[in-house]
Amino acid sequence: MVDLQVRIGSLTLKNPVMPASGTFSEGLARVFSFDDLGALVTKTLTAELRGGNPTPRVAESGQGLLNSIGIPSKGIPYFIEHTLPEYRKSSTPLVVSVSAPTAELFAGAVRQLDVPDIAAIEANISCPNIEEDGKAFAMRASSTAAVVAELRRATALPLWVKLTPNTGDIGAVARAAEDRGADAIVVANTILAMAIDAETFKPRLGGIMGGFSGPAIKPIALRLVYQCAKVVGIPVIGCGGIATAEDAVEFMLAGATAVQVGTATFVRPTAMLDVVGDLAAFCDRKGIAKVSALTGALEDRGMQVDALEALP
């Protein structure tokens, strides 16, 4: 029997598979039991009430999805009163994703989440839809350092920090998060993109630009995980285009300790269960006793990164 457990700081997960924020909700409990997942991750909450963006809010493009959902949020008190009890029905650790437009508001939101049965905070410092000019904290190391420091002071819960692939300096951003006390980084969020309808001359999203996700972005997310894992000591949680156990294995080999499955769940609602089951089967086939042995096991010794192509 393969040991699927992984450790993210002080948290032990029964397997490395969890949903990506915003692509999962308690509604999925109508299809299968959450008890078989490694962790649960909520849609990003904001302290203030938000309505979200105009429709159309999604458009498919190749094997990927563009979204400009925005972050429609009923606020944190509503979450604690109405949504949290639904998640308490499962014993799987609950990670709550939070965001805010300033570091101070961010810390305030995180403080409100100091309630029982929340296992960790995932600070979404990367959402490209709502920050001014599409600039998020995680675009730069300095703004990352500032917000993570505030958040670290605001909570004793394990603090995961979710990065954006839109930065040109992922390594420096990842190190800034680690330096200021993040317990793990999630790599990464959606990639800023757009789509146009050639027939109507109109943008295909109501929000003109949106975040790109799904299999189409997997190679980019994989590269980012590899770059981050090289420069930080804290666990990296891989996210971006993961739909199968093979995808999950690739992310773990690149250095991820655990993985998040997002858009794949829309296409195949049981995708996460398949990843868990097939991951066990994969390890069995390869004679790997512990799935955690895959983390960073990429055989790249003696190989060089192409200096002309490589981003920092």
Binding site: L4, N15, G22, T23, F24, S25, G27, L28, R30, V31, F32, S33, D35, D36, K43, G51, G52, T55, P56, R57, V58, E60, G62, Q63, G64, L65, N67, I69, P72, G214, A243, T244, T265, F266, V267, R268, P269, T270, L273, D274, V276, G277, D278, A280
Partner: protein
């Protein structure tokens, strides 16, 4: 419970989009691997798809829908699933049926399905129509593929002893859908078309007012046309009649997770956004708004 005991059926390589779980007793929604029995064009615009299925899929009710994993073809690779209302469910024959219009990549893919092919259908999803046992007569009015959504409602009403009057609207007589299903339950039918000029607002309004005045409209039901919806909403308010409308919006997950399918509604508490997939697709006519 071990992870392995609750695993879904493994799918064969290359069949990823059709990966389906066998119906797990305790869950109300399943990703059912259905098998195509019939898939054929019924007129220039619409196709009829009959599937063999089992489990929760067979408990779908009128107004509910499924999210279909449309197959890839040489020309098209639809990535997301496509929502389709149930056209008919026959638990005894283990059949679920859809009526669809070929519109783009997803439905073009559906049109290539052959008997014996498999298709993953997630559902039943959403809230269907509700019938109040105190009602004696209802009026349903639909246009185009909206009639596919209303046909099972009319049958459920007939079964509950409620009389049905149906206004079937279409561009042309040859495109009127499901007339025979409304006939079979003894519905009173008015066919209105653009072709012969009978589908205009004023004429349909005259029909509706006649039914109301004859005491044959305890509730209004509509699907498939913004104009019909607005007309029925106005008349329902004027005559104080209950009403329900099945609405559409682009969807991704179908399960309330992604928030892409919101529409605006007017409620006594002010304007409100609701998700068509979980708060609908059937809504109170009085609260529904057009785009």
């Amino acid at each position: 419970m071990s992870i392995l005991t609750s695993l879904p059926v493994q799918t064969e390589a290359g069949e990823q989009a059709v990966g389906a779980v066998p119906s797990l007793g305790a869950f109300e929604v399943a990703d059912t691997r259905s098998v195509v029995v019939v898939n054929r064009a019924i007129n220039d615009d619409y196709c009829h798809l009959v599937l063999e299925a089992d489990g929760p899929a067979l408990s779908a009710r009128a107004g509910q829908f499924f999210n279909l994993a449309c197959p890839n073809t040489a020309a098209d690779m639809p990535y997301l699933r496509r929502p389709m209302s149930v056209y008919r469910v026959s638990p005894a024959q283990r059949r679920v049926e859809f009526l669809y219009k070929v519109a783009g990549a997803g439905t073009r893919g559906l049109a290539t399905l052959q008997p014996g092919d498999t298709l993953a259908i997630l559902g039943p999803l959403g809230n269907g129509f509700t019938l109040d046992p105190r009602w004696k007569n209802i009026v349903v009015a639909g246009r185009g593929v909206g009639l596919a959504t209303l046909a099972p409602l009319a049958e459920a009403a007939a079964e509950a002893g409620i009389g049905v009057t149906a206004i079937l609207s279409a561009r042309a007589k040859s495109l009127v859908m499901s007339a025979e299903r409304f006939e079979r339950i003894g519905a009173r039918i008015a066919v209105v078309t653009d072709e012969d000029g009978t589908s205009d607002f004023a004429n349909v309004e005259r029909h509706l007012v006649t039914y109301v005045e004859a005491g044959q409209a305890d509730a209004f039901f509509t699907c498939g046309s913004n104009r019909l919806m607005l007309l029925m909403k106005r008349l329902a308010a004027r005559f104080n009649i209950a009403g329900q409308v099945a609405l559409e919006q682009q969807m991704a997950c179908g399960l309330g997770m992604c928030f892409c399918c919101v529409r605006n509604f007017e409620t006594t508490g002010g304007p409100e956004q609701r998700r068509v997939c979980v708060e609908g697709p059937v809504f109170d006519l009085a609260e529904a708004l057009t785009w």
